[in-house]
């Protein structure tokens, strides 16, 4: 990316958005506007992809909602995202977990969890 593009978009970039990665189970706190009231809506699921870089970076969260797979793509640095909580750390063998779309049942939500020992060593 050109230095000047980086410079211009710098102000929109949020520093606290690199604590989650592909495979993590997250709760995304989304600001929702209803009339002139604002409330927080939580979207919970597994991060199956992180794409792009700089201010254009997005991440995809997949969850199973009443038996139907739902995916939402968020811009990582969107002001509409209040925060992203990581519920479960995991180890993945892929950069994009698209294979999870073909899974049915329990396997569809299960990812290999990172061991507690490993987390302690971190």
């Amino acid at each position: 990316m050109k230095p000047i593009v980086e410079e211009i978009t710098q102000q929109d970039i949020k520093e606290d958005r690199d604590h989650f990665k592909v495979g993590d189970e997250v709760r995304v706190h989304v600001r929702v506007r209803e009339g002139d009231k604002e409330r927080i809506q939580i979207f919970k699921g597994i991060v199956i992809a992180r794409k792009g870089r700089g201010v254009e970076e997005t991440f995809t969260v997949r969850r199973i909602a009443s038996g139907v797979g739902v995916e939402r793509v968020f811009p990582v640095h969107s002001p509409l995202i209040a925060k992203v909580d990581v519920d479960r750390d995991s180890v993945t063998m892929r950069a994009r977990m698209y294979y999870i779309r073909d899974r049915i049942g329990k396997g569809a939500t299960k990812v290999k969890e990172r061991r507690l020992v490993e987390r302690a060593n971190k």
């Binding site: 050109k2 000047i4 593009v5 211009i8 978009t9 254009e56 969107s78 002001p79």
Partner: protein
């Protein structure tokens, strides 16, 4: 007021607006442009303002006639020259700098740029012809069909859409909204895309079809 700025396309990115929507923007370096010559009704037969532009990081050798022309008007040699017509040019003076200050966020602009060259292309890509079926023995795939009639008129009509060179033409995109002006970097952000490669030369001017006044959105 009528004016134009020379500049170059830097690239695309995105910004968030007040309602937190993602806005796709093109980053355009515009100016600073030096006024190199004032053309008057008495001398040249029409009124116009000639401006010069030195793109950042471009150090092309300048031709002797160009250097001489700039010297005669008392300005530094410019890499690119261009002019815009204006009914009254009293407010301009040679040596004056035109910068992006003249633009305001929310204003509409036109961008004139050269499209990407596509080379020699067939009618399907160049003119959006439908082409024929791929299989079932059609033997008619991406051809242009009939080019005309028979003994009358005895020739192919002018402007018949045929294969040929595509792209590399000057194209104007009208009514692009200025999202942000960064005067210290000589940069404006306009909403949407503009023709051409990154780094290519372009002209930015206030939108011709704007309604009266500045900042009409």
């Amino acid at each position: 007021m009528n004016f134009a700025l020379l500049g170059k396309k830097i690239g695309m990115s995105q910004v968030f607006d007040d309602e937190n929507n993602v806005i796709p923007v093109t980053i355009v370096e515009a100016g600073p442009c030096t006024v190199t010559q004032i053309k008057t009704l008495d001398k040249e037969g029409y009124t116009a303002v000639q401006i010069g532009y030195n793109p950042s990081c471009k150090k092309a050798p300048k031709s002797k006639p160009l250097v001489g022309h700039c010297k005669k008007n008392g300005v530094d040699p410019q890499a690119v020259l261009s002019e815009f017509r204006t009914p009254e040019n009293d407010e301009y003076e040679t040596g004056h700098l035109l910068t992006v200050d003249k633009f305001e966020a929310g204003e509409k602009v036109d961008v004139v740029a050269t499209t990407k060259g596509k080379g020699f292309q067939g009618v399907v890509k160049r003119w959006n012809f439908a082409g024929g079926p791929a299989s079932h023995g059609s033997m008619f795939h991406r051809r242009g069909g009939s080019y005309g009639l028979c003994q009358w008129p005895g020739h192919v009509f002018k402007n018949k859409k045929m294969p040929g060179h595509m792209g590399s033409r000057s194209r104007t995109v009208q009514n692009l909204k200025v999202i942000k002006v960064l005067p210290e970097k000589h940069v404006i952000l306009v909403k949407g895309s503009i023709p051409g490669h990154n780094g290519s030369l372009l002209t930015v001017r206030p939108a011709i079809k704007r309604k009266s006044g500045k900042g009409v959105s």
